[in-house]
């Protein structure tokens, strides 16, 4: 608590403002004429009365006594907690000093009054130190625990600690400084006299990068290292604000909100360790601080130093490891999405969603580089189901970027990722007004590449875009390559599918059906129309198909060709049709080999040649008849 000096104006019965001999009550009545005010005074609810003549407040006796008592109590407490109290004027000259002496110039209060701190004789005050201190004062900064060495009147070394704060009047004008002094000679000497092992242990503890503290049975922090003090001051995590002397368990009990569950778990674990129910307690927790997200691994171990039960609590910041794990998982997720995808659109959406969810970004869009027009066109997008985000994506549907224009265009041209942090005024790309309206003024854009060529860009927008670290940049490059390879593969597959469709179409145009046989030359697949007895063909050799008329010699010849794995062309055979006539068919085929080079069957095409064969037969019959007619006449 800071010392306060209320401007007490006790009613002066001898002053000219009070009627002589009329008493304090008469003076009050002169000042207060309103009935309400009088009633309030009579009921003891008033502390002071305004005197328009003097322009001052007149304290009533009870209030004055209470304030004087409070002031005396405060002074007593200050004297108990410190060794001295001082005040300086606006020129930093001491105007008041009580308690322990300051500096070797001290010869009673008169010794330092009127002097500045740097005019006193100290052993350790260099010109640079004083310059720094004067700058502090000029900035009206609070200073704490400045340590000065001086020799007292008995030639003994004294070490004084001085702290101070600026004073301002009601108009906020600087009035000077006030503060306290503490004689820390004994503490310093005790520290200096401590065993070397203690100092070594303390130095080692402070050198640890991991925040560490030691709790007593009640959960009070007995000691903590420098890293712990930094963490406690950083206002993040369960350790926030709990410094040495504070009760860690009580602080955890008071935590509300998202960290409540973690705090309960920590308290339970610490109590178990203190009670000896377990030697080690480890707990991993996530801290969603406003500035950044981080993860900690808390470890509580039992201290066996003496009879009193104690626990050592340490916090390891595992944010970097967790982020790396997250990104690795993201890379696997992306690989899985792409590997199992039949649909390019669904795969791209799944990838965008995975990236958004991992990085807590609001939405992502894939712009495809259209080779024909040379511009980037929106292909796919995904966003969190929030009105603002949906509006943002809807508005960006017709957006077209030329290479070099906008953030997406620049990424497409350079092939390098770019980002804009939230709230920054980055001139590299103009953000739309809508982006600012929706709070998604941060962006992260990276290219989708394959074999060194940019196929498109993935652009993410969000209100939570942070400066990317090396691991994130590595991850987006990997994701860009994966998606690029996927898109290239899909393009190749599409081209192959189109080629196959074209080939099938041509095959269908040039033949009536296609067929496949296994290694025993039995039909396994027949497509198209025109093959007689097609319903009974599967599982049969050509010879076994009902109604097929094939001489033994022809079949033997054909079989020998098949056995030799020769290709054959236009092998003709006849079929007895239901109308009693013969149908004629021609098949061509080639052997199929597996990767090991073994023949696995045949495939080929078939054509209905009945019309041609019948025409040939009819022609031959007409020739024969003609020949019969000619030959008798010639006889």
């Amino acid at each position: 608590m800071k010392p306060k000096k209320p401007d007490l104006h006790a009613p002066n019965l001898n002053s000219s403002s009070a009627p002589m001999g009329s008493g304090f009550e008469a003076n009050i009545l002169r000042l207060v004429k309103g009935a309400r005010e009088c009633r309030a005074i009579e009921s003891g609810q008033v502390d002071a009365i305004m005197d328009p003549a003097s322009g001052r407040a007149v304290l009533l006796p009870d209030a004055q006594a209470a304030l004087l008592e409070r002031k005396a109590r405060f002074r007593s407490l200050v004297e108990l907690s410190t060794d001295g109290y001082w005040e300086q004027d606006e020129h930093y000259r001491f105007v008041l000093h009580t308690g322990a002496p300051i500096g070797s110039d001290w010869t009673g209060d008169g010794g330092i009054l009127g002097k500045t701190l740097w005019e006193l004789s100290f052993d350790n005050g260099s010109e640079i130190d004083w310059q720094t201190h004067r700058t502090q004062l000029e900035w009206r900064a609070i200073f704490r625990d400045l340590e000065f060495r001086c020799v007292d009147r008995a030639d003994g070394l004294r070490i004084i600690s001085i702290s101070g704060e600026p004073m301002f009047d009601a108009q906020a004008r600087f009035k000077g400084y006030r503060g306290i002094t503490r004689d820390i000679t004994e503490r310093k000497q005790a520290q200096a006299a401590a065993p070397e092992s203690d100092r070594f242990a303390r130095t080692t503890l402070d050198a640890l990068a991991t925040p560490v503290c030691v709790l007593d049975t009640d959960g009070t922090i007995i000691t903590a290292n420098t890293a712990w003090r930094v963490l406690a001051a950083a206002d993040r995590g369960i350790a926030a604000g709990v410094a040495e002397g504070g009760n860690y368990l009580a602080a955890c009990d008071q935590i509300v909100g998202d960290e409540r569950v973690d705090a309960i778990a920590m308290v339970a674990g610490i109590r178990q360790v203190i009670a000896g129910e377990r030697e080690l307690f480890r707990y991993e927790y996530f801290c969603n601080a406003p500035s950044e997200q981080c993860w900690f691994m808390a470890t509580v171990t039992r201290l066996h130093a003496d009879a009193a039960a104690r626990a050592i609590v340490s916090y390891e910041d595992i944010t970097e490891i967790k982020r790396a794990e997250q990104l690795l998982r993201l890379e696997f997720t992306v690989a899985r999405c792409l590997a199992g995808a039949d649909d390019t659109s669904a795969a791209l959406q799944a990838v965008i969603r995975a990236v958004c969810e991992t990085q807590s970004w609001d939405c992502g869009r894939y712009f495809r580089l259209d080779l024909a027009s040379g511009v980037l066109l929106l292909d796919e997008s995904w966003g969190v189901p929030v009105a603002g985000v949906e509006q943002f994506m809807e508005k960006s549907r017709g957006v077209v970027f030329r290479p070099g224009a906008g953030l997406a265009g620049r990424v497409c041209q350079s092939g390098e990722p770019l980002w804009i942090l939230n709230g920054s005024k980055d001139g590299r790309a103009s953000r739309t007004a809508l982006a600012h309206e929706t709070g998604m003024d941060g962006a992260f854009v990276f290219p989708i590449t394959s074999k060194g060529k940019t196929l498109g860009v993935l652009a993410f927008a969000s209100g939570t875009v942070r400066e990317p670290d090396d691991r994130l940049l590595q991850a987006v490059r990997s994701i860009g390559d994966q998606v690029g390879q996927f898109l290239r593969r899909r393009q190749a597959e599409d081209a192959l599918r189109q080629s196959e469709a074209r080939f099938r179409s041509l095959t269908e145009l040039s033949s009536d059906w296609t067929w496949e046989k296994d290694c025993d030359f039995r039909f396994t697949k027949v497509t198209g129309s025109g093959m007689p007895g097609a319903g009974h063909v599967l599982g049969q050799t050509l010879r076994e198909v009902p109604a097929v008329i094939l001489s033994d010699a022809d079949w033997a010849t054909h079989q020998s060709e098949l056995a030799a794995h020769w290709s054959f062309c236009d092998f003709e055979y006849a079929v007895a049709l239901p109308d009693g006539q013969l149908g004629y068919y021609s098949i061509s085929g080639e052997p199929i080999y597996d990767e090991a080079g073994a023949c696995t069957g045949y495939r080929g095409t078939g054509t209905d040649i009945t019309k041609r064969k019948r025409a040939e037969i009819a022609l031959r019959e007409r020739e024969a008849r003609l020949r019969d007619l000619v030959e008798p006449s010639s006889d």
Binding site: K4, P6, D7, L8, H9, L31, V32, G34, R36, E37, A40, I41, S43, G44, Q45, V46, D47, A48, I49, M50, P52, G55, R56, A57, L59, D62, A63, Q64, A66, L67, R70, A170
Partner: protein, 108 residues
């Protein structure tokens, strides 16, 4: 004949309608004098219970700013001046009479 029923709070007392406009007040005190300290505590409790965040309060220490108190027509402290919404009102004393404070603030 049906009677209009007064809405009551859980405590059985008539429920006070929620305040929708911001109440602007000025409290004049004499440093840490007993009635002033009590007035601050009483007003803080009333604000928390009835006004939540719908109030603006300026606390003026007449020992530090006597002229301001005089200029604003304050004769004794503690005094609470309600500036808006209209009508303006002034309450004298340590604000221990809660009902009169609520009445003056226009909450009842």
């Amino acid at each position: 004949m049906r009677r209009k029923q007064t809405k009551r709070s859980a405590s059985g007392r008539p429920a006070i309608p929620p305040v929708t406009t911001t109440v602007v007040m000025r409290l004049y005190i004499a440093n840490n004098a007993p009635n002033s300290v009590r007035a601050v505590a009483n007003l803080a409790a009333i604000c928390k219970e009835h006004l939540q965040d719908k109030f603006k309060l300026e606390v003026i220490d007449v020992l530090e700013n006597p002229l301001r108190a005089l200029a604003e027509g304050i004769l004794v402290t503690p005094s609470l001046a309600k500036l808006s919404p209209s009508p303006a009102a002034k309450i004298i004393g340590n604000l221990s009479d809660k009902s009169s404070v609520l009445h003056a603030l226009g909450i009842t």
